[in-house]
């Protein structure tokens, strides 16, 4: 037999170049990335580190806004600023060197300060997918944060100082279809099989199988059989631990004894026992999905609703009727012969397809009734949505300007907790206030460290007072920040830059759950903390 001429798909250069990341966010994630427009405010070392990890995987374009000229400090910490560029526009030099990283990415710059742009053309920022700002003084951050909040443009704010750094994400509403959870429980529906599955499973009497057949029957069939046995005896499915143990015992004792009278439990039967604990609990709507179904945007879809929320509205009706989210359509691998496994797999897949079809049609209907264009919801999007229905998430963030006006968290109890890194947040807020008030970093000059410690302590004390917090920040924490004198250590910026870039990728691709909403990194102890502020 001669084999047919090779007809393997010719891979494009792009898919070869991006191969290692396409395995994580897929071609559809890449497409979002390639259509994205990023704005970076201030091309500091941290700023260019963030852009580097966005240009490499192939964002569509970036714009750098920076009115500064290159200084010695930039040369010593910023990889994308060359040593012979002192005095030149930092935005221009950084743009040129970043563009070299990836010919697929477009980039430009504006060598003016962000205050200038805010004063003259605020709406400049409105068309970006994400705006990223580093080293932004409080007095500029406040109006920018308000503006982008209103325009629904995600904002990432970060700073790297000495061995400390933070990332704050401001996003009004962010919806995630593919969260890519690390471990998932398989939804097998053995407690409530649909007719086609029931008919298939009812055909097998596990006790009547010969040795060879026994070793090839899938765990799902075994488990279903013994659950049915249990049910006919007790009138209900096993719920308690003891009841589950009873099913386990039935399975353990099922093998025919060998010539020595020993019962050897086959691999597939052991698998069936493992599934007892994870897969026979009645289907529950996971809390993340419940929250979405109860969300205002789901209940009150309107002409302004995104395809995501229209699909959610259709999903809600489906869940209310069926009592469960749609099937994923996949079956975990289990020891079995090929045809038994594939038959089962096809049953699950077909049912998932049918359910997706129902949700998709209903979503189109809802869209039509709202006067939305039918094309807004594509079939491929609906398929992805239904497959990941149990993993859907919505994040509703908070506006940074609001956080600065009135903090939402109970700082006092956070500060009482010896393991909490909340004190870093307070110190960093003090630092930001100091920078805004004095137009310099605390400890920037060698002979200013001591006096600046006092000034910064005063500022932090005032802030704590404003927040009605009775705790204090230890002097050495304040001293440490003043010791840095605004120094930006490249390796610390590299850490924060990588983190911030990946958060931007999450916001763009709608995959993986982003930080909500503040991350603090302490490079002295290599520890970190996240807070929702």
């Amino acid at each position: 037999m001669s084999s047919p001429a090779p007809k393997s798909p010719e891979q494009s250069e792009k898919s070869k170049k991006y191969d290692r990341q396409l395995r994580l966010w897929g071609d559809h994630g890449q497409k979002f990335l390639e259509n994205s427009k990023i704005c970076l405010i201030n091309a500091t070392a941290l700023g260019t580190e963030i852009l580097k990890s966005l240009v490499l995987p192939g964002i569509g374009s970036f714009t750098i806004v920076d009115g500064e000229k290159v200084t010695d400090d930039d040369i010593g910490s910023n990889f994308f600023i060359e040593s012979d560029s002192i005095g030149m526009s930092r935005a221009q030099v950084a743009t040129q060197n970043l563009l070299e990283l990836n010919p697929d990415v477009r980039g430009d710059y504006i060598d003016e300060s962000v205050d200038h742009i805010m004063a003259h053309s605020q709406d400049f920022f409105d068309t970006f997918s994400v705006v990223i700002a580093t080293c932004l003084p409080e007095k500029v951050l406040m109006p920018l944060s308000r503006h982008l909040w209103e325009k629904n443009v995600p904002l990432i704010v970060c700073r790297s100082v000495g061995f400390l750094g933070y990332i704050r994400i401001q996003v009004k509403e962010h919806t995630i279809i593919e969260a890519h959870p690390d471990n998932e429980n398989h939804d097998l529906r053995l407690d409530n099989p649909w007719p086609a599955l029931k008919e298939h499973l009812d055909k097998v009497d596990v006790t009547k199988l010969d040795n060879k057949e026994r070793s090839h029957v899938p765990a799902v069939v075994i488990l279903y059989y013994y659950l049915a046995q249990f049910k006919s005896k007790h009138g209900h499915l096993p719920k308690t631990r003891a009841e589950k143990e009873e099913v386990k015992k039935m399975i353990t004792e099922s093998p025919p004894p060998d010539e020595h009278g020993i019962k050897n439990l086959e691999e597939n039967f052991k698998e069936a026992i493992r599934y007892i604990n994870t897969c026979i609990n009645p289907i529950k709507i996971p809390p993340n999905l419940q929250a979405i179904l109860e969300d205002d945007s789901c209940i009150n879809v309107n002409q302004n609703s995104s395809p995501f929320w229209v699909l959610c509205a259709a999903l809600k009706e489906f869940v209310e009727k069926e009592g469960a989210p749609p099937l994923k359509g996949t079956l975990p691998d289990m020891a079995a012969d090929t045809s038994s496994y594939i038959t089962l797999q096809q049953l699950y897949q077909k049912q998932a397809q049918t359910q997706c079809e129902i949700i998709y049609r209903r979503a189109l209907e809802i869209a039509r009734n709202l006067g939305l264009s039918q094309e807004t919801i594509t079939e491929s999007e609906a398929k992805l949505f239904c497959k990941h229905a149990s993993e859907l998430h919505v994040i509703r963030g908070s506006c940074i300007a609001d956080e600065y006006q009135k903090t939402r968290v109970d700082l006092t109890s956070c500060l009482e907790d010896p393991d909490s890194l909340m004190f870093h947040y307070i110190t960093l807020r003090g630092l930001e206030r100091f920078i805004s008030e004095f137009n310099s970093y605390p400890g920037q000059l060698d002979d200013h460290v001591e006096p600046d410690v006092l000034k910064l302590k005063g500022i932090i004390g005032k802030l704590l007072g404003e927040w009605g917090c009775s705790q204090i920040i230890r002097d050495e924490r304040v001293h440490e920040v003043c010791r840095y004198g605004g120094a930006e250590l490249h390796s610390v910026s590299a850490i924060l830059g990588g983190c911030a870039a990946h958060e931007a990728i999450k916001l763009i691709t709608l995959q993986y759950k982003p930080l909500n909403n503040t991350f603090i990194y302490d490079a002295i102890t290599s520890t970190s903390a996240s807070f929702t502020l």
Partner: protein, 441 residues
């Protein structure tokens, strides 16, 4: 670059090195000399010039280090360009170490990165001993274990007391997708790579009977073509090369055929490549984070400005951003770092065959060797028991695999010398027979 400009350039670093601070290492004494040491004499070896290596070189160069060496045997491939940012399209096919070194030296004036375009095994102790600190950015566990073995072999003990001047700290990073880890190994003082071998997940393998008789997943079909069909049909009269698109094309075709025969969905070209080449997903951001953590640790160790990481950090930004730091513990009887003589307990030497012994060395979670070669000394004479890596010796010693230890003349208390790709040194194991009274002649 003028001296004052050089001074100004490192203004950031000088702040943390020339000012006292409440969280510094207890023995830290701020002074300009520390910066001088970093800039003029501290010699750092970067092992690997890939995703982590490129980042490490950049980070170290901008943390003031100038005497940097980098070693990597790989050449640049198109699929590296999404993260290995020192390489361009025009560099494809060139040495990673050389291109990376040249780029850094050009971008950061005064930095002297020396490239080594070779295998780590090509150098011996005298090379590795010349560094103050080593930092690994490798994707190979075997190579990481080899470097770990090397720094431990450099330790010298006098009357059981470690000579501290022989310690070369090792900072090690690893990434996979959106997960990573970084650790600091102070050889002889804290957990080494071998102490924590259980942290590395075993590679996914599929039982032969499944891939041959009851395939269910697309992976089973691909694996079948790879391990059964390829050797049988030998389509290109060559071993399967995952980088040869014709080879991958053939495997793809055949896997598709087999999958359709069994109605198995999901064979794609990308999956075929992934399975054949054991591809680990990788992105720029995770590499940046882990390399940043490692470079920060190198800086801390070199300057004593703060206490180093104690001693293991895991990172994961799949869901938010998560880190966890803990002190990995030493294994009391670690094969490489414990100074405890290793024994191999044998239940019944008249039943245990040499191949069983090799199986233990390969599969025991504590050893996880790759291709151990075994020799011993019987009656004062060296005897090769089995070596798989040299063809002529393999053929000569192959029959020994099915002989029992008794048949091979091995006795209780005898030493077996084991050489393996995971270690630069020969490891000695003493046989301990449970039934040592059974003497068979």
């Amino acid at each position: 670059m003028s001296e004052t400009q050089e001074q100004k350039r490192w203004g950031h670093l000088r702040k943390v090195l020339e000012r006292p601070g409440p969280f510094c290492h207890p023995e830290f004494e701020p002074s300009p000399e520390i910066m001088d040491f970093i800039v003029t004499s501290c010699k750092v070896l970067v092992v690997g010039a890939g995703g982590l290596g490129c980042e490490l070189l950049k980070d170290l160069a901008l943390m003031g280090f100038k005497q940097i060496h980098v070693i990597d045997m790989d050449t640049i491939d198109l699929s590296n360009l999404n993260r290995q940012f020192l390489f361009r399209q025009k560099d494809i096919g060139q040495s990673k170490a050389k291109v990376a070194a040249a780029f850094i030296n050009k971008r950061v004036p005064g930095c002297q990165v020396t490239p080594h375009f070779c295998k780590i095994q090509d150098y011996d102790e005298s090379f590795y001993r010349s560094f103050h600190i080593m930092v690994c950015g490798l994707d190979s566990i075997v190579a990481r274990r080899w470097i770990n073995g090397m720094i431990l072999s450099l330790l010298s003990y006098e009357d059981g007391v470690l000579d501290n001047s022989t310690i070369i700290p090792l900072v090690d990073g690893g990434t996979e997708g959106f997960k990573g880890n970084a650790r600091v190994i102070v050889p002889g003082n804290n957990a080494c790579v071998e102490c924590t071998l259980d942290l590395y997940p075993p590679q996914i393998t599929y039982p032969l009977c499944t891939i041959a008789n009851t395939p269910r997943l697309p992976e089973h079909c691909i694996e079948y073509v790879k391990v059964v069909l390829w050797p049988k049909e030998n389509p290109f009269n060559a071993p399967l090369d995952g980088d040869d698109s014709q080879h991958i094309g053939w495997v793809y075709e055949k896997s598709l055929e087999r999958a359709s025969q069994f109605n198995i969905p999901g064979v794609t070209y990308r999956l075929v490549q992934g399975v054949v080449k054991h591809i680990i997903p990788a992105v720029a951001s995770t590499n940046a984070v882990i390399a940043g953590v490692c470079a920060t640790e190198v800086f801390k160790i070199a300057t004593s400005c703060c206490l180093p990481l104690n001693n293991y950090m895991v990172f994961n930004d799949v869901d938010g951003i998560y880190t966890y730091t803990y002190a990995a513990e030493r294994r009391d009887n670690c094969v490489v770092c414990s100074q405890v003589p290793q024994t191999l307990p044998i239940e019944d030497p008249s039943k245990v065959k040499l191949k069983d012994l090799i199986k233990i060395l390969c599969e025991d979670e504590m050893f996880q060797m790759k291709n151990p070669g075994l020799t011993t000394v019987i009656d004062g004479k060296n005897k090769t028991l089995y070596i798989s890596t040299i063809k002529s010796i393999e053929e000569r010693t192959r029959d020994n695999l099915n002989k029992t230890l008794v048949e091979l003349g091995l006795k209780d208390g005898m030493d077996i010398m084991v050489a393996d790709a995971t270690s630069p040194m020969t490891l000695v194991f003493t046989l301990k027979f449970a039934t040592s009274d059974v003497e068979m002649k």
